[in-house]
Amino acid sequence: MITRRTLLGGAGATALAAAAPSRVGAQTKGAPVKGGSLTWGVETEPSTLNPHLNGQAKAKLILRNAYETLLARTPDGGYVPWLAKDYAVSEDGRIYTFTLRDDVSFHDGEKFDAAAVALNFTKLKEPTYSGSISAGHVSHVSEAIAVDPRTLVLKLSRVYAPFLDGAAGIEILSPKSFASAQLKAGGPEIAGTGPFRIERYVKGQEIRFVRNEAYNWAPANAGHQGPAWLDRVTYRFLPEAAVRTGALTSGQVDVIEGISGNDAGLFKDNPEFTYQSALNTGTPYTLYLNATRGPTEDVRVRQAVLAAIDVERVIRSVYRGERQRAWGVLTPADTDFYDRSIEGSYGFDPKRANRLLDEAGWSSRDAEGFRTKDGQRLSIEIVQSQATLRDQRDVLLQAVQAQARQNAGLDLVLRYVDAGTYTTRQNDGQYGIIPNSTTTQENGLTIYFHYLPRNKGGSINYSRTEAPEISAWLDEAASTLDTKKRFEIYARLQRFALLEQAYGLPLYVPEDQIAASARVKGVGFRPFKRLPENAYDIWLQG
């Protein structure tokens, strides 16, 4: 027995979103013009160009020019057809059937069909091809069957709620690509179906795409249909924020992303440029407190850390009002699962912080004014990976450190470490606090990685909690397809983790920023996932 979910005529919200093209921040005044080349200065160079193997959120805007997925998303989290015209889920939630378009071809001339898609899923299950990725969504697939050229059936070993979100977001590569020598590094030989194909890649400098003239299968909620407007688009790798800003203001590039709080003012309210920003989905930049080691083992100390820091003020002064203070285990951009009732329910309260620390026995002070117990100073080590130290986070951590000292006599020790030291410390639990944010492609799923025990899938469980109630809730949420029920469970988890256990102190919501010269039109963010969109709808005026 199969329940059919018709995409175009089905759920009200979905149909509405599909009928009215709605790209976040897209400017579509005036008639688009075909032609021209665009140069976009980006912060991050992809580590690999194979979209299956690339886990960098910042690389998506580049790779989405060439590689496409089965379904696209609407701003409210619905699905619209893309390479799949339709999909259905069986009543027991274990069989997913996708009906594919029959007019799509890959850049290398191969035909897009169910066998090609099935091959992608089979390959992704091989640890030798995809490493850790094979343990993610695709590990739940027991069988991928091409019933006929247009029908793909995925059978799951058991019900897994985030599956559609994950499966609909897997980029489909041409079957020939899997035999290419470029497979793992990616490159022009790895063919996708996108509106552009890779023309040239110069490592350390730029990647250039050229229009795919045959393209005629944009998702229903794109800004237009048919081939892309631009002839070519080049992404130039400029790792320094100040250099990106200068390159745009001097007209050497047309668009940049990743703009520091200090530079935003140059582009805002300036008629020569446009500036837009969008909050990331996933988790906010949060100080996760180690609940299994050192002073933070005591819940009172953890609660005191949360109460000792005036987050609102710190964020406002460090980012000059350009970043938003965070409250929850997820960011507000996660429209499905963010429970905003958490906002304002805890926060800066120095009296409470000091009372809690007195109660916990950290009542005496040393010569420098730090709290002590049995002659030991109340020191908590913050271990921050240099690899994720961006967006003025070093300044932010210093401000937090100063507040903790001033308001509660807490000694936060800052350690910036290399990738090797970080993984070791992370695995062994040798830290007091790890600050981190994650930008996930899958809504709600990041909660599992953060709160399941480390040996049961909690790969980034920095608080190291093994609370049995959390595991039970997460199990329950994973086995239901009822979004409302999942929301309630995650909301309960959020209150437990932040208010009762104080496993983390959310600081701010990471966001993406785009600044462009005024003649660049149609640049904006993806609906729902909120990352910068590819160049498909971009056109140049005059």
Partner: protein, 338 residues
């Protein structure tokens, strides 16, 4: 500048310390053979040291490859098997040495590409940058030394400028040059390895601090030379001051400057990291830093071999330059043979 070098980029300090190394005309085949022999020894030492230090650095390669993704025993096993990490370390080392002898440098763990191709594609832009920076450095050093040596006021102005350049972080110097000449005056493009004009600013950013160091040494040498009796003799022939400085003085002053330059060129490789990143240029510098941080052994070792090779070549070149510059060294060889 030296403090910024990574361990992979500064091999064989002993080689530098062993200077002056005197080539002798007689027994040349023996000299060449011992040169090649010591060169190979340096290469082997560089590979071995890099191998050991990457293994001693915190964090193991499997954890780094998995990162913060899910970790299961099957995945670990697959990764170990794929990269041959399931074998004993000594065996990995020996197998790697054998592979290098066959010209196979392996595949990058992080970038998934063939290492020889990766290094070859990145070496050209790095060589262009270092050559241009070296040109800038020499031009700056010679001009500043010749024009200001022995002249009190110009000398102190040049000295102050050199001191400023040496102590300016290259990141900041790069941004400053970009701000002036690219963003404001729009004379040069900001980034890439695309045209000659794109090379100007990075070459200045990298070459000026080097030129400043060499310039100071060269000026001191020149001043010493101008005080020697021969300078008076030359002047008495009626030779103009500039000709004296260029034709006679420089040659005397060049020895210590050449030694220093030969040594500093090696540091250009490591200095290139920051310049490359500021100017968005391709190159070995960035590749190397990422490889070291990610314990990407095949890339680290290939770069170690390459930089050891560069040092060996440079020190040989410097020795030959010595002979050309200073006939006394040539004579010494002849006398010893007599």
């Amino acid at each position: 500048m030296e403090s910024r070098q990574t361990s992979a980029l500064s091999p064989a300090p002993a080689l530098v310390a062993s200077r002056p190394f005197k080539l002798r005309r007689n027994g040349l085949p023996v000299q060449i053979a011992s040169r090649i022999g010591s060169g190979l020894l340096v290469l082997w030492a560089a590979v071995t040291l890099s191998f050991v230090s990457v293994h001693l650095a915190p964090g193991d390669i499997v954890s780094l490859l998995i990162g913060e993704q899910l970790r299961t025993p099957e995945i670990e096993a697959a990764i170990r098997a794929e990269w041959g990490l399931d074998e004993p370390v000594l065996w990995q080392y020996l197998r790697y040495l054998t592979r290098i002898l066959h010209g196979d440098f392996g595949r990058s763990y992080l970038l998934q590409t063939d290492v020889s191709q990766l290094v070859l594609s990145q070496i050209v832009p790095t060589l262009k940058l270092t050559a241009a920076a070296l040109f800038v450095a020499i031009l700056f050093a010679v001009t500043s030394a010749v024009l200001t040596a022995g002249r009190r006021i110009p000398r102190s102005i040049a000295g102050a400028l050199e001191l400023t350049l040496v102590s300016t972080p290259s990141f900041w110097l790069g941004i400053l040059l970009l701000y002036l000449f690219s963003f404001t005056l729009k004379l040069f493009p900001v980034s890439g390895d695309r045209s000659f004009s794109a090379l100007v600013l990075p070459a200045l950013a990298l070459g000026l601090p080097l030129g400043a160091v060499v310039g100071q040494v060269l000026r001191q040498g020149l001043e010493r030379a101008l005080e020697e009796p021969f300078a008076l003799t030359v002047r008495s022939w009626g030779t103009s001051g500039l000709v004296l400085r260029l034709r006679h003085g420089l040659r005397h002053a060049a020895l210590p400057a050449v030694t220093l330059t030969g040594w500093l060129v090696g540091s250009l490789l490591s200095g290139a990291v920051i310049t490359e990143s500021v100017f968005g240029r391709p190159g070995l510098g960035r590749v190397t830093v990422e490889a070291v941080l990610g314990h990407d052994m095949p890339v680290v070792l290939a770069v170690a071999i390459l930089s050891a090779f560069t040092y060996v070549m440079l020190s040989t070149l410097v020795d030959i330059l010595y002979l050309l510059l200073d006939p006394r060294l040539r004579d010494e060889g002849r006398e010893a043979a007599r």
